[in-house]
């Protein structure tokens, strides 16, 4: 027990301490290395914690304020992994940005320290047992990224950051009201001690909670955390934030923050399902998930900025995952969890490649980036493979999870399947055409001064490929356990 406690403490404390260190010393040249080292430590701690949870089962820590079970520990591991690879990617990327004069050392100091703080808040949000602290951590995550999105201080980035702050701030205020309502319902059953906000306690008594209050609470929580997940119609901030922030920030936003927000919704869904006994939460999630898959598909072909393009793609995939969680059941939950993993890995890999591609071209406009494969075969291939992966081509893992989601849909909700297929098809056509234009053709890009760190890209893509072909048995078991927890 105490091992796990110290491991969790390490997982949470490392990014926090690294953040403080970087806030003080981040203007030195070694900042990027400190960043990477801190992330590596976090990853190791997370891996150890994961192993512990797998062997010993779910446990509550720190006087029941933190809770790790198969569902969130896998997300913790994923977060730490993507955080580490992103920090590796950001080393040469930020150096190029600095050399191109787009960022000063002070800004880099802000960037590095906020990056670690952001990791810390996400890990706290994932591992906490207290719904109130979950809210606080989500809000803190928003705050740390606001300044990151506006890092370049251009008019467009300021606008993106402002939209992000206001939309997510308003959304998260609704989530606070939802949390208050849950506390209200819980207090009547559990009494006014602090235990009424602990998820484990709530899970134990969920059938006793007042249904009307819980359904109202879920609506507010869904709206609130759904804004942060990028669900339509509250998705306006996402494309801008992805386009205007520095690429590593886009990678972690897409790859990690959206997952954490969806995790919050899923935790609440478990409570609501237990209290209501009907499929209310699931239906709500399915409806908005479906909407979120369809709407971006039609925006994709109009995009001129490559990072906006992939931002909309993220929205679409989050919609798909929400839809899958909404359907519920062992297969759909399994597929959703798998999709969370592969989307996170693939999207961050794509952003790594795109980041370097736009550095080579000096612009993010799609039409101005051409012929990547001739100038830098690795980047060109990385982008090509990544796009194929995210569009659901076999044998990549995205195909597996999408296939599972579609088969479950055909079985239980056949009316939804043509909608899904059409949307996915439209998205495929739009994105593939644009990526093809970027990768092939006469080169308009210059080579980079520093060697790009492309190992993370291929590590991610390799993992996704592996998950498409063969899911290691312990991983599959892990997903199944988590799927069972969600119900």
């Amino acid at each position: 027990m105490t091992e796990a406690t110290s491991m969790l403490a390490l997982v949470l404390a490392t990014p926090f301490v690294t953040g403080i260190v970087l806030a003080l010393f981040g203007h030195r040249r070694s900042a990027a290395d400190i960043n990477a080292a801190g992330s590596l430590l976090t990853l190791i701690a997370a891996a150890l914690l994961t192993a512990r949870v797998i062997s010993a089962g779910p446990m509550t820590l720190f006087d029941e304020q933190f809770f790790v079970d198969p569902l969130n520990v896998f997300l913790i591991a994923l977060t730490a992994l993507v955080g580490f690879t992103t920090s590796l990617f950001s080393r040469p990327y930020m150096r190029v940005e600095h050399d191109h004069g787009r960022l000063s050392v002070l800004r880099l100091r802000l960037y590095h320290s906020m990056f670690q703080m952001f990791m810390c808040t996400m890990l706290v949000a994932l591992s906490t047992n207290n719904l109130g602290i979950l809210w606080v951590a989500m809000e803190a995550a928003t705050l740390t990224t606001v300044l990151l999105v506006s890092l370049y201080r251009t008019p467009a980035s300021l606008e993106a950051a402002w939209k992000y702050f206001i939309l997510c701030g308003v959304g998260i205020a609704q989530a606070l009201f939802g949390t208050i309502l849950i506390y209200f319902a819980a207090e009547r059953v559990l009494g006014p001690e602090g235990g009424a906000l602990l998820w484990t306690h709530l899970d134990a008594v969920k059938s006793d909670l007042e249904p009307t209050v819980l359904s109202l609470a879920f609506i507010f929580l869904f709206v609130g955390y759904g804004t942060k997940t990028g669900l339509v119609p509250l998705h306006n901030w996402l494309a801008d934030a992805h386009a205007e922030g520095p690429t590593p920030v886009s990678a972690v936003l897409s790859g990690l923050l959206l997952n954490v927000a969806l995790y919050a919704i899923v935790r609440c869904k478990v409570l609501v399902d237990g209290a209501l006994g009907t499929h209310f939460a699931g239906n709500l999630m399915m409806a908005f998930g479906l909407l979120t898959v369809v709407v971006p598909a039609f925006y994709l072909s109009r995009q001129k900025d490559v990072k906006r393009l992939f931002g909309y793609s993220s929205i679409e995939h989050m919609g798909l995952i929400t839809f899958a969680f909404g359907m519920g059941g062992a297969v759909a939950n399994f597929a959703a969890l798998l999709h969370m993993t592969v989307h996170s890995l693939t999207k961050s890999a794509i952003f790594f490649a795109v980041g370097h591609a736009s550095q080579m071209a000096g612009t993010q406009i799609i039409d101005d980036i051409q012929g990547l494969i001739k100038r830098s075969p690795t980047i060109g291939w990385a982008l090509m493979l990544g796009s194929l992966a995210i569009l659901g081509m076999p044998p990549f893992g995205v195909f597996t999870s999408e296939f599972m989601i579609l088969t479950t849909a055909i079985k239980h909700y056949p009316w939804a399947t043509p909608i899904l297929l059409t949307a996915l098809g439209v998205a495929f056509a739009a994105m593939f055409g644009k990526v093809q234009g970027m990768v092939f053709g006469e080169p308009t890009v210059r080579p980079l001064e520093h060697n790009p760190a492309l190992l993370p890209v291929f590590v991610h893509l390799g993992l996704v490929l592996m998950l498409g072909l063969w899911i290691p048995p312990y991983l599959a078991d892990w997903y199944r356990q988590a799927a069972r927890l969600i119900g």
Partner: protein, 226 residues
Amino acid sequence: MSTALLHTVPLSGQVINLCAALMLLLGFAMLAQRRVLSLINLFMLQGVVLFASTLIVALTTKQSHLLYSAGLTLVLKVFALPYILHRLIRKLSVKWDVETLLNIPTTMLVGIGLVVIAFNVAQPISQLSGTITRATIGIALACVLLSFLMMITRSKAVPQVIAFLAMENALFFAATSATYGMPMVVELGIALDVMVGMVILGVFFFHIRQQFDSLDIRHMERSKDA
């Protein structure tokens, strides 16, 4: 009939109801306000009313953690935040009249509609609550919706932020009226978030101001879907 009902509510309950009514009135006053300085003063008044209401609930129900909440509210919302806002306004030399996207009578009518909706939504919760302040949950939700309306009908950055803070005020009021406040650790976390948020916003305003020479949000609406 209803007068007899009112007499069964003790004096403290009546005073809390009065505070709730004042919160609602202040919410509308902020919605109709044209000047930024008065807006900040109204926000401070809202903080005072909130503090008074929390204090009375704390004293009548003998919940000591509410006393700390009340103290936190006083320090944060009556002194710290208005002070930060005033300094920000002075440094940004912002003195304009607030422009609104809808005219004020229409905004008021929409506000009344939202109040009715909020009262209806809060009915089932009031009926279930066991606190002495349960009637005020509807008003708290109404204040949240009103500050939300204020946020979307303003076109300058500072009033939008004040609307955001007013929303947080209303949520705190909802928490105290429905459940005698959230656990202390959560409230501290929320307070911390608000403070950090304000600091970040302060920094942010300078950047916006530097870039656009103005804090009008409409300057920032150029990025549409290409």
